[in-house]
């Protein structure tokens, strides 16, 4: 029997009702993630990357409609009773959100929040949970953990709060950690520290990780595979080294080109992507990127390119006119 992936997302769609009609936030996405591997999901605001992660966590807004199937460790999450889902989140499936100020409870001490998690999921007694809480804070690089446990989130810096959020997420040794823009709210020197911490803990615990970001630079050195999303769909997906050496989808290439390069001279004009992402309440018959794509022709306007790997190169792309031929 072939090994079954830890997480498999099959034909997942998320639709949100809006006054202007249904908004297709995620459009028939297929993804798989093996145990212990890291997947980067890259895209700009509104591309559906966060909604997709919420679909995996079964934390979608109440009015959202989910289609397709999310299977985690052999279980169909959409069909799981609420009680079983609750037991799954934490010990097996954990998340770190973008803003550590809003994801931590402002009126409880750091210690209370960590101890609460450890007691609820691992059944530790208060003394053992307190000891473990201090150990966890030390593991995520927080100095003087015993003092920090008695502090409230507002007494910590943004970087320290994110370390606490990571400590809580890691506290029950999850099999999968979803980090949703974990460093976007942080300064650049602190961002590097937090990404290092996530990478170190991911390897040490052999945990699978989904790293969601808008920055191709963040996923480049830190993931095994990257999926690029645009307008609710995965438009390119490849092992990380392959994605960067042989980009097929013009959107991915344009996204990379738009990042200022450190080795180009000052005042170099950036190759900007003209226009802006489409309105998700107005589905298009063709490729969603076509209106901004310099290679687009009539076919791109009329028919949506499927996400395929015609050359059997291990890399998928959704484009009628892919860049570069051959592997």
């Amino acid at each position: 029997m072939a090994t079954r992936p830890l997480l498999s997302i099959e034909g997942v769609g998320v639709t949100l009702p809006t006054p202007r009609g249904p908004l297709v936030a995620v459009d028939k996405v297929d993804l798989t993630l093996e145990a212990g591997c890291t997947l980067g999901i890259v895209g700009e605001s509104g591309c559906g990357k966060t909604m997709l992660s919420r679909a995996v966590l079964q934390l979608l807004p109440k009015r959202a409609r989910l289609s397709g199937r999310v299977t985690f460790d052999g279980r169909d999450l959409a069909r799981l009773p609420a009680e079983e889902l609750r037991r799954l989140r934490g010990p097996e499936l954990a998340v770190v959100f973008q803003d550590p100020m809003t994801s931590l409870n402002p009126v409880l001490t750091i210690g209370t929040q960590l101890v609460e998690t450890l007691q609820a999921h691992l059944g530790l007694d208060t003394a053992a949970a307190s000891r473990r809480a201090a150990e966890l804070l030390a593991e995520v690089g927080i100095p003087a953990p015993d003092q920090r446990l008695r502090q409230y989130p507002h007494q910590l810096s943004g970087g320290m709060r994110q370390r606490v959020a990571i400590a809580i997420a890691l506290s029950c040794e999850p099999k999968l950690l979803i980090a949703d823009e974990p460093t976007t709210a942080l300064d650049v020197t602190v961002q590097a520290q937090i990404l290092d911490l996530l990478a170190r803990e991911q390897r040490r615990r052999r945990m699978a990780m989904i790293l969601i970001t808008h920055d191709l630079g963040v996923v480049a050195g830190r993931t095994d595979e990257v999926a690029v999303m645009y307008a609710g769909r995965v438009v390119e997906r490849a092992p990380t080294p392959q994605l960067f050496t042989n980009m097929r989808m013009p959107y991915t290439a344009a996204l990379l080109a738009a990042i200022p390069k450190l080795d180009s001279p000052p005042h170099t004009a950036l190759p900007a992507i003209a226009g802006r992402p489409p309105d998700a309440t107005r589905p298009m018959p063709g490729c969603s990127f076509a209106p901004r794509c310099k290679y687009a022709d009539g076919r791109c306007q009329d028919a949506k390119p499927p996400l395929v790997d015609p050359e059997q190169a291990g890399a998928l792309y959704a484009c009628w006119h892919p860049l570069g031929r051959g592997p």
Binding site: M160, V188, T189, G221, P260
Partner: protein, 318 residues
């Protein structure tokens, strides 16, 4: 290049819970006519406060700001009001900086009204011109409200509003930080184009060295209210002299999987500006720090032509 703006010994202090927070400490800088100076630092380093103090929006506690040989800190209210036509500001959050209840045409025309342009036809003509310049379609956009536009389009509206009086000097305070990558490049290119077209001098504030590089002639790096380093853009990337500049450079995520991310390069986080370290404010995170750094505040000094560093143990010497 003739000097347009000079800042001399500028201090800005806030009073927080009975204590003094020195947000900008003894900063001296000059900006030449037609130059773009990038000002870089992490949150809380005082870069936005410095930008506002230059425009006298946050009056400096002490120090001088001279613009075109006019001392701004001693101007009275009316004189400063007239001076503001020549000095403008573009904010970080393009949506929050636009009045949600007013249509775009009125928002862009407002500075003209304040400046006393009474002729409505003249105002509309100038609004149309500047909208076309920033890439907005006047016929389509003038009557609409800000919420009907995306973040990038709102930033174009903000830029149009800042440029309509044809200012000489514009402070851009993190103008692209809230924007997506693909839109960010559009706005950076637009600012470059506007600079040429209107002959602007810019103070470009950002936390991202890569973004600043794309538009700046020179870069100034700030840490906890003090200047660490000032140098021509190419020089600061090739040969940073201050350990903090080097740290900022190494921390930029490179979109290339063959480049191993630098690890363990930065220890700790910036200390509270309410309680800055003695001597060099960066010393608590600096691998080169010794006793001198704790005792003596390093003064900005030249290490290469045009390159100034405030460090007792710079990475490059003379």
């Amino acid at each position: 290049m003739s000097e347009l703006l000079s800042i001399d010994g500028l201090n800005v202090e806030y009073h927080v819970e009975g204590r003094v927070l020195s947000a900008v400490a003894n900063v001296s800088l000059s900006i030449g006519k037609g130059e773009t100076l990038g000002l870089v630092g992490e949150s809380g380093c005082g870069k936005s406060t410095l930008g506002r103090a230059v425009l006298q929006l946050r009056p400096p506690t002490s120090g001088k700001v001279r613009f075109d040989n006019i001392e701004l800190t001693t101007l009275d209210g009316e004189a400063m009001r007239l001076m503001r036509r020549r000095l403008q500001l573009i904010f970080q959050d393009p949506i929050a900086s636009l009045n949600p209840r007013r249509c775009v045409g009125d928002i862009i025309a407002e500075p003209l009204i304040i400046a006393g342009v009474k002729d409505k036809a003249e105002r509309e003509k100038r609004v149309r011109e500047v909208m076309l310049a920033v890439g907005l379609d006047p016929d389509n956009a003038m009557g609409r409200l800000p919420h009907e536009f995306s973040g990038g389009q709102c930033q174009r509206i903000s830029i149009a509003r800042a440029l309509i009086l044809e200012p000489e000097f514009v402070v851009c305070d993190e103008p692209v930080s809230a924007l997506d990558v693909s839109i960010r490049a559009q706005i950076l290119n637009l600012l470059e184009e506007m600079k040429r077209r209107y002959g602007l001098t810019l103070l470009f504030i950002a936390h991202d060295l890569a973004v600043v590089k794309a538009v700046s002639d020179r870069i100034a790096v700030m840490y906890l209210g003090r200047l660490c380093e000032v140098a021509p853009t190419a020089r600061i990337f090739a040969k940073p002299a201050h350990p903090y500049t080097a740290l900022l450079l190494e921390a930029i995520p490179v979109p290339d999987p063959t480049v191993r991310p630098a690890s363990n390069l930065a220890t700790g986080e910036p200390p509270s500006p309410l309680d800055p370290p003695s001597g060099c404010r960066f010393r608590t995170r600096c691998p080169r720090a010794d006793k001198t750094c704790a005792d003596l505040v390093p003064e900005l000094r030249a290490v290469a032509p045009g390159q100034f560093v405030a460090c007792h143990h710079p990475l490059t010497e003379g």
